[in-house]
Symmetry: D2
Subunit: 389 residues, 4 copies
């Protein structure tokens, strides 16, 4: 019986990084996971210094992830890490993830899953082969109210879905901050580090994943326009797409990083034959239900959500707002519950398994490929997603 | 000197109609206009009965609009109507408007201006020839906060405009209410009465006009998808378009009448290089300003709006909410002020002239033609608006 | 049969005044009332000039209200005014109202009804004696959503009412604007013109009336603290009271004119054993219903309000926001419908009679007397309202 | 140098408890604290089972807190707990807290601090004597936007403070749930376990602390009415108080647990001579600033907050909402930083020391004493707080 906290290693996430800190907050909150080792930076000094601040012994802070996987794999079971959290820029996703899997470690990976779609398929193959557990941190699907939305659509409460609006406006790339020392901007706008899409890869994939998660539908094809508004930027900082879903529903996806003054305003609206729903990340504990023939209802996390997955992922009673970190933590917690269940020879429950995985990652890479193919042209056209996995 | 209320006649707007009542509320509010005659229905009984309820003498209630224009034209100046308000379904816009102009009457007309673009051009020619005053009731541009938005964009406060999101979701046509005795739905979904577009003509035109009004930009081309969701409906009940503006800005326009549970949720967001703005008709006295480098600001009608056109069109101090009828009344009031100024040989001020006119009407018909051409196809393509007037 | 518009005279409301313009907008909107005469200012020049701008013949613009009542009373029935709208500062309410009643004219009066409670009783006696119709413009009870709230409380939907929070914060008197030429501030802060209370008379009475209107309960006693925050101001600019209602419910009433930065943020919350409701004038078409055991519901004017009084007082379909002027107009419209019904020997319906009257005026004066008695002391105490009428 | 996580013990917080889970989430999130021992329940079975689920070795799960303090005190420095978190009902606050201090342990304690004011003074004396660190979990002052509010008031941005409205409506005690097996309700409504106040002790103290924290003012006296609405309930479930602050400002405090349908709607508004501010826990990352002479501003956590204490307590960039658990975690984190700094012989910074302590606890007990004295009477009176510490 695994009756202890899961042991996490980390690749990336030094004290100079952004998303690594988020991952750690999310991982530790529920007292299910402890950090035991890491390779926190390509700069060994930063890595070492970070390890000290994260209260690690010096011998568990590694100079390279390769070294980490090799050495950790040789540690006894009662000591070595159980999984690795990889929180590097996109171009350093595939190699450490693949190597971790090859060395028998479960993996949590930041999105988008890889640099290319093909790499994503390779990861999937390796995951299938090893039976290891893999999570992809599409955070927005971690919110209880989003899970409630998914549940209500699945139950047919809205009727057949007709229309989806999903949007993700940000404003932080309104000027060329990548030239002004903004490290986050710098790699995200560099096609060598980010991949073939900028805005569409960074946040468009979130919007796409959220739409498919809630509706349970798949986008089959899209037309799009992708824009580079800031002069001399190397990747798209804005875009919009018209979507076709596999049940005949239509959608609009909007993502922008030059929507000046916007923070991180993820929002989705879904309309069916009987009613509609709306969710805004700005106020993530509220799910608005709109009906053809009765008053609008406001469902609230901790108060009136009743979907099993919503309840399972709620920590506080109503009126004690949960936020982004809790949504993030839901991914880690469910991942940990799944790893533990498997370690104990138990079947993970559907609630445990409710975290984004390699299929979401592949869908995301397909989205990037498709939207880039459709949207980077003078002409506009419908482009199919290819085979839906 | 014209020192009296303007005299209004009305075509349509019987007691069984919807928009006519709105026009009257808007027209009367400011004590600048009085109803003196009308032909309120094709049904003479309804017309007669309506006239009585509107406190008209029997001899000023006409059986046909033709009779009205002819007889009114023969009345002495101190008695005959000054202008006609035409509030009939789309297919009865052109003929009465043209006849009114030919008989020397100024015209207020509900949108969309005509059944075809060509008719709109004919109206424009007649207006130019006669010098008469013509207003088109694109209500949303009548709100003070919208006028403030236009002013701030024009002043360059947001910097060069990059992105426009405009949306107009409604849900009232989510089921086939046109078969269930809903008169409003019935003619709006009938191509013989409504024209070649349903949703796109009825509310898409409002969204398009609002975007062009606020930004001062013109849409040059668009791609679109237009949908008919409710089986056996004869016209579109939903659609979305990607827009190109003449300064290089990009936009997304969404309009739906099957967004189940939505009322009339007109909303526009405009982003420039320095900041963004947002306006929702749901709470029309609020203009949200978002900035790259300073806190969000909330401008409020009657409190912090300062554009001349906003102040000119505000009736109440802050915190005494103005609504749709006041926005509508601003069109009537400015129309009346313009007619009066011209009658008195004065030059109407820019504030007086700030109401939608025949150019907005032509733009609307161009929008309908373009979006139908672009959006009613299996293939998607960019379609140009043609010459911008 | 009275089959014509009602003829209104006006006392006060010259072009230099504020509330008179609001009254006219409200009166004219519905095409039920026309202005036929007035005495618009103590300054005859302003009065004359105003009459011209309101399109009145010179002989119907009077130098004094006494002259107006006397001369109008002698005009033939088909010509003389039917009612007078009195929109003067508080100290000029009683005399013209009483004189109007004595000359047989129905009266619309701005609140608070009189300068003293005794005067209010005298008005009531005269109204009873004459059978004339009298309206007091407590605007906030004119909103459809407020009427829905009243209806739901009356129907017992919330269960027995336990708690009422009513608040009315404004900020416009945060500094001594009465010394800076603000005419509205000047008379409102002058005990000779405003009466014994400032803030509590001007807006506290609105809050009190709204609470009693919605709950159907009467305040029986209160304790209070009344404050003068701006140095050398002669009347209260702030206050709060704890309330006891006649069913045992408790309440808190807050009113302030030094809540810096607030516009006119009337808000009420009512809680019963089963649920609660909330209404904000800021967004007046929304009524929020909160329940112990089911999700929050959002009722909306024109969409989901179903109380007869709410429907009767709604002009536009959902999503076409009605505002303050429409709420104000509901008072005028119902007053006019009542006058007309009585003129025609018909029984006015409950919906027609649903406007504030002399009883509301007396309650308001009782509130002022009680809150001043309770709140202008170093000691705090419960003070009874006296007999509830 | 203390270069390791702080070691926490816990009293209370078994798997059947509510607030203990919150404390753990808050404590673990930042990777600064680890749980090393506990006595989680008076029921040894529950305690033992809880310890197992929290991954503790059996020998660190104690049967009584007395045993825990005694045994832990004897463990070597490198092993024994550094502080204890006490999360029991009110009547079990004082004894364990005092014993922990006597055994040299720092303490985190849930509010209200003790059962009686005298006990709070005793704790203060012991804290002063030992120099140990003590935190009280008044969560709402842990939000970054609340800290920004405090900063802006302190900087005089609002001018001299005149008015404070603070409110805390809940609805969960609208019926007699204490008789229906609700454990939380059961002890909270039991004067033997909760103390002399119910609602006022449970949530009124939060409202009071929040008002004093933000304004930097002290309440000097208050008058109040305290109510028991639910029949046969033993303690107050509702109340309101008028407040006098030490700078002459006036306030209104409202707290209710029978505001049916409300969740946990903590809200505060503060008005000064120049402007006002508003904060709602419902959307805790927003601070609304209202000004006499400029537009409303919306400050946002992670985006436009700039107070050092706000920045210090923010974990995520703007638009990634932080919530209740992060506010709670800020108390734990700052407590831990202070303990560590003291252990290392460093002076804790003001940001580290910014967590509620024994003074807040004493103020809370004074509030309870004062409001009960003032509010549980037929007569109403001003009651002084006594000496302000």
């Amino acid at each position: 019986m695994m009756n202890r906290k899961l042991r996490m290693g980390m690749v990336g996430g030094g004290t100079d990084a952004f998303i690594g800190a988020i991952h750690r907050l999310a991982a530790f909150m529920d007292n299910q996971i402890e950090l035991v080792c890491g390779c926190f930076s390509v700069n060994p000094e930063i890595s070492k210094q970070s390890g000290k601040l994260y209260y690690l012994p010096e011998n568990r802070v590694y100079e390279t992830y390769q070294e980490m996987f090799e050495k950790e794999a040789k540690l006894p079971e009662g000591e070595r890490m159980d999984f690795v959290s990889i929180v590097t820029p996109n171009f350093v996703h595939f190699a450490p993830a693949m190597m971790a899997l090859e060395h028998g470690f479960n993996v949590v990976l930041d999105k988008p899953i890889t640099f290319t779609l093909d790499e994503a398929y390779q990861l999937k193959e390796q995951i299938n082969k090893t039976g290891l557990t893999f999570a992809l941190t599409h955070t927005y699907s971690g919110y209880p109210a989003v899970k409630q939305a998914k549940h209500m659509v699945a139950e047919g409460r809205l009727g057949k879905i007709r229309k989806v609006y999903v949007e993700y406006p940000q404003g932080w790339l309104s000027s060329k901050v990548e030239d002004a020392g903004n490290a986050q901007a710098s790699w995200r706008t560099d096609p060598k580090k980010s991949g073939k899409a900028g805005c569409m890869g960074d946040i468009g994939t979130h919007a796409h994943q959220l739409a498919e998660y809630i509706t349970g539908l798949k986008v089959t094809e899209l037309c799009a326009e992708i824009n580079v508004f800031v002069p001399n930027r190397l990747l798209d900082d804005d875009g919009a797409a018209l979507l076709h879903f596999d049940n005949g529903a239509k959608g609009v996806l909007m993502a922008s990083q030059v929507a000046a003054g916007e923070e991180n305003a993820v929002k989705i609206r879904v309309y069916g034959e009987k009613g509609g729903l709306e969710w805004n990340q700005h106020e993530p504990n509220t799910l608005i239900l709109k009906w053809i023939d009765q008053p609008v209802q406001i469902l609230r996390t901790g108060t009136s959500l009743d979907a099993p997955a919503a309840l399972h992922n709620t920590r506080t009673p109503g009126g004690h707002p949960e936020g982004y970190l809790e949504a993030f933590a839901n991914i880690y917690r469910n991942f940990a519950l799944t790893v533990r269940a498997k370690a104990n020879g138990e079947e993970p429950t559907p609630e445990m398994l409710d975290f984004p995985g390699v299929e979401d990652g592949i869908r995301g890479m397909q989205f990037i490929d498709t939207v880039v193919s459709a949207g980077y042209n003078d002409e506009v056209k419908w482009v199919k997603f290819g085979d839906i996995i």
